[in-house]
Structure formats: C-alpha cells, structure tokens
Subunit: 313 residues, 2 copies
C-alpha cells in the first residue's frame, strides 16, 4: 500500500511517499505557509501532486494538540484558529482518507518503527529545538494521553519561580532549553554588555536567527555565553527527564529535534549525565540515544498513521 | 473463585478474602513484623489460616519495587535484603500460587476496580502518608513501568538544591510532603524555639509519632507551624502532579494514603488548586478525587493480582 506522510513544522512542510518497511521512497519540502489552515491545505495538495506516486491515504503531523481528526490548538503557527476540522477538510481536498497526529508523536513513531527507538516497549522522545516537545511509547503502544495532549515535557517544572516561559508560567524546562528562549537570553546578555559570537555566526551562516547549527558552531568556537546558556538547557532537559523516568520507569530516551539531530550521541550522553542521578532506581537497561532518521522520522510516523487508517477502515 | 489479598504496610499487614464483585468478605490486621521476609511469611500464613475461607491464590502488595514474583528492593522495612524470591517462598509455604505487586499499585488497582478511579482509563494515584508513593493506569491498563519501578512521584523534583530528601537527593516532592520529613521539620523548628502543639497532640492521642490523624488535629487547632509545613507539602505534591499531567494528559487523580484517606475531598481540592494552573492544556474532564475504599483498596488490588494469576494459569 502506498501512503504519504506529511510533517508540518514551524519552518518547513516535509512530505514523502512511504513504502513497505517504512522506507521513504520520495520526498519534498517547502517553507510552511504563514496564512493558516487553508494555505497549508493548498501546500500539501501541491506537494502530494508533485510526488511520483498517488497515495491511498495521507497522515499529517501537526505542531499542536490533536484529538481524533480535529485540531485542538496550534500554538506556534500564525493564522490558526483555536479548533478546527482540519483533517476532514484536507481529506475532501485530497479525495483520500487523512489521519492527523501531533508532530512530535509522529517523529517518535517514525523512530520507533524504523529508527532509534526500535525494539523498546517504553520510550520517551524529547524533540529539542525551538521548543521542547515530547512523546511517549508505553507498554508497546504510542500513548498520546486522554485527549492527545500528552508529552509536554517542555512544561515540566524544573525551577519554581524561575525564568519566564513562552507559556506564561515560570520555571518550565522550555524556559531554559527552548532555542527561542535561549536566544532571547543571549540577546539580553549581549544588550547588557556581555560578548558573544552567536549573532555574528548567525550572520555568517546567512540565517535570520540562531538555528541549531548556529548554536553548535558557537559552542565549537568556545563562546562562553552560548556555552553557559546551553549548559542551563541541558540541566533543565535532564532534570525534567529524570522526573519523568521516576514516574514512568522507561527503558529508552530518544533525543531528537534540531539540537538532537545535530549534536547526536554527544548531546544524549550529556542529558543522561544529568537525568540518571535523579532516578530512584535506574533501569540497568535504560539507554539515552539520538534520533537517527532526521526529517524522515516525522514523514514515516505520519505515514504509519495513514496506513493504520486504511487497515482499520 | 476465592482469593486473598494482602497489603503489607510499614505499620500493619492487612489480609482479606476477596469475593465476587471485588468485595472484601472477611479481613484481619496485625502489626508488620520487623524481622524481615521470613517473619512476614509466617505472619501472612497465620492471617490466612485465621480467615473464614481457603483462598485458591494469594496476592501481596509490598512496599517496594517488585518485578514478576521477585522483590527488587524494600527500602522502608527493617531486615529485608536487596533482592529475593519472596513470591516463590510464600507460595511454597501456603501451597497456593502467589502474585506480588507494589503496595501503592495494589491500592490504585483496588480503587480502579471498585472505588474512586472506576471508569477512568488514565489515572494517577498519589498515596500520601509517611512517604509519597504513586501508581498509574494508562490506556485502560495498570502500568508499572518497564521493570515495575514506575510511580515514584515522591521523587519528582520540585525545587533544585532544596530540602534534603530521605533518598539522599535534594528538592524531591517527598522532601516536603512525606510525613516523616514534615515531622522532622516540625521537630527542628520546635528545637529552634518555635511553638507547635503537634507533639502534645501526639501524646494526647497516645501515638509514638505524629500520624495523619495527629497532623489533622494540629491543623484543625490552627497550629501555625503545622499549617505552614503542610502548606509546603501541598505545594510540592500539587507541583509534582502538575508536571506529571503535562507529560501524561490524564483524566483522573486519586489522592490516597494516610493523608488522602483522612482529609478526603478537601485535600484533593487543595492539591488540584496547585496542580491545574501548571498544566498547559488542562483536560476539562480532569477530576481530582480522594480514595474511598480505605484499607480495603490494597486488599482488593492484591486480590485482583491473585485472581489474574489463576485465570491466566
């Protein structure tokens, strides 16, 4: 069966045909439309038309909370209303069944089916980039919570009354580790007279903001401000994961997202060094690994949602 | 089928015959032997012999980490070695199959089958007393983690570098909310010249330590020290639960244990008032409730483990 998977990110929409054995056999990528759901539907239609094969079902990973085929909220894309029947509308437009999922859940599902989480029954995925998202596999099944809103490890508390988070609360993991918040901290420090090469590297790389690549280069260059902020991010992510592992006794943690993809094993090791000492009874089989499918993870996971739809239906 | 459930606590061992419909039809209770596993086996044998009916299987809730029929560790009972084949030894002694589980998991299982967690597919149980234990139902099934060590909400971090916890780490929920740690704080404050009625009430109640009842009476009497320490406990428990709900998107939280049983709804409401504002996307269906089966919860849950054993076998 031929299915398509679509991974809608804040920056780009990636669409691919997923064949047997969870292999992505063709793929395309374009900037995410900034004008809301209808523009996204048009973009996805165009991408699928451009691919080599006609899928019999389409899965879409959305950066927000999804319940069934409805969208509950999409906090980080402009032009999106609170709730909506996006799945049904896209299905009408494409003429094939559509399954929706959360983007991080799709990414972890891809890694679980064909990548770094394969073979593990109890997994936490931490997608660390602009924000810090999470997803779970529990008892051998993806778990999205009672309404599809599980996985918010970015809003686990690590420091009461601490740094202000994008969500309006204080002391969340993401307040320290989200790239957007890290960049804000770097700017504030620069404005108050501290020196950092972060924004020069950004310009040299021809980026409009410090991407994961820019942060990595600043760290490699020994930039003290970048290193200090990144260290706080690792502490926050590792501490939050430690709390989750005490509650869930999992066997694998997969670090993905922009930072996870770029810094790989080394980052997974640093996170583990913070998390493991926080665990009451660490599982000797517990492993911290980096995501390994890159952009394909989300496409494969979304494709699997589409496949399940056709098989169930 | 007639089964027995045994709930091994730090203070007492409660054993009952569980009949159809998860009803406890007879029960007995004695102080927990302080001399290790063999003394406990003898006590359980005596208790079961004293009951009206002969069970065809026995389930036991143990205050520790359990994996299959082996005990991984029992941190709070004197005389217990690190690991042991307790289940097999007890089974030989009783001549019937034995299933082991964690005590809090058994308590939540009882409340899920017949009490305050009935009908919910995604539940966190928080057993709040001497320590702060936890247990989970996820996707309609009890979930004990990859090795049976899940549920350690008492060791979710709420304050980095904060109060020293019994586990040796700092800033855990239990460092603020465990009754043992709360009592230590009250003693320290009294020693440094602050006045509290807590220990007078303990003496008047003829207890050897401030039990949940003693704490409740001190709070009712308007004792400022007790109220301040208890308030910190509520903040810690509520904050930890908020973090868990962000990750798991559950629909019910059951507050049990000594404090939960005694202070009921009122305590569940206070915990909710701290936890809910921490949740990114609170489930409108989310409810915080008090455990309602008292001592029977653990017996019923342990009985259900025994029942499953016979049915599977």
């Amino acid at each position: 069966m031929i299915v398509a998977g679509v991974d809608v990110g804040g920056t780009s929409v990636k669409t691919g045909i997923v064949g047997e054995g969870h292999k992505v056999v063709s793929r395309t990528k374009q900037p995410t439309p900034q004008e809301g759901p209808e523009a996204l539907i048009a973009a996805i239609r165009g991408q699928i038309a451009a691919l080599d094969e006609r899928p019999s079902a389409v899965g879409v990973g959305i950066p927000g909370a999804v319940s069934g085929n409805r969208i509950l909220h999409v906090p980080n894309l402009p032009g999106w209303p609170g709730q909506g029947d996006f799945g049904e509308e896209l299905s009408k437009e494409l003429g094939v069944p559509v399954a929706l999922g959360n983007d991080v859940s799709c990414g972890l599902l891809g890694e679980w089916l064909a990548g770094a989480a394969r073979g593990a029954d109890n997994v936490l995925g931490v997608w660390w980039g602009t924000g810090v998202g999470g997803a779970l596999v529990i008892d051998g099944r993806p778990f999205a919570g009672s309404r599809g809103a599980a996985g918010e490890i970015g809003h686990v508390l690590v420091r009461p009354g601490g740094a202000l988070c994008g969500c309006g609360r204080r002391g969340c993991v993401e307040a320290y580790a989200g790239r957007r918040m890290m960049t804000r901290t770097a700017r504030d420090m620069q404005a108050s007279g501290r020196e950092t090469a972060l924004f020069e590297i950004q310009d040299a790389e021809d980026k409009d903001r410090p991407t994961s690549k820019v942060w990595e280069k600043a760290l490699e260059a020994g930039d003290a401000i970048a290193a200090g902020i990144f260290r706080e991010g690792i502490e926050a992510v590792g501490t939050g994961i430690g709390s989750v592992l005490n509650v869930l006794d999992l066997e694998r943690v997969v670090i993905g997202g922009g930072f996870g993809q770029r810094m790989g094993k080394n980052l997974a090791r640093q996170v583990a060094e913070v998390a493991v000492p926080r665990i009451m009874a660490p599982n000797p089989a517990l492993r911290f690994v980096a995501a390994k499918l890159g952009d394909d993870a989300g496409i494969i996971g979304a494709g699997a949602l589409a496949r399940a739809l056709v098989i169930e239906g």
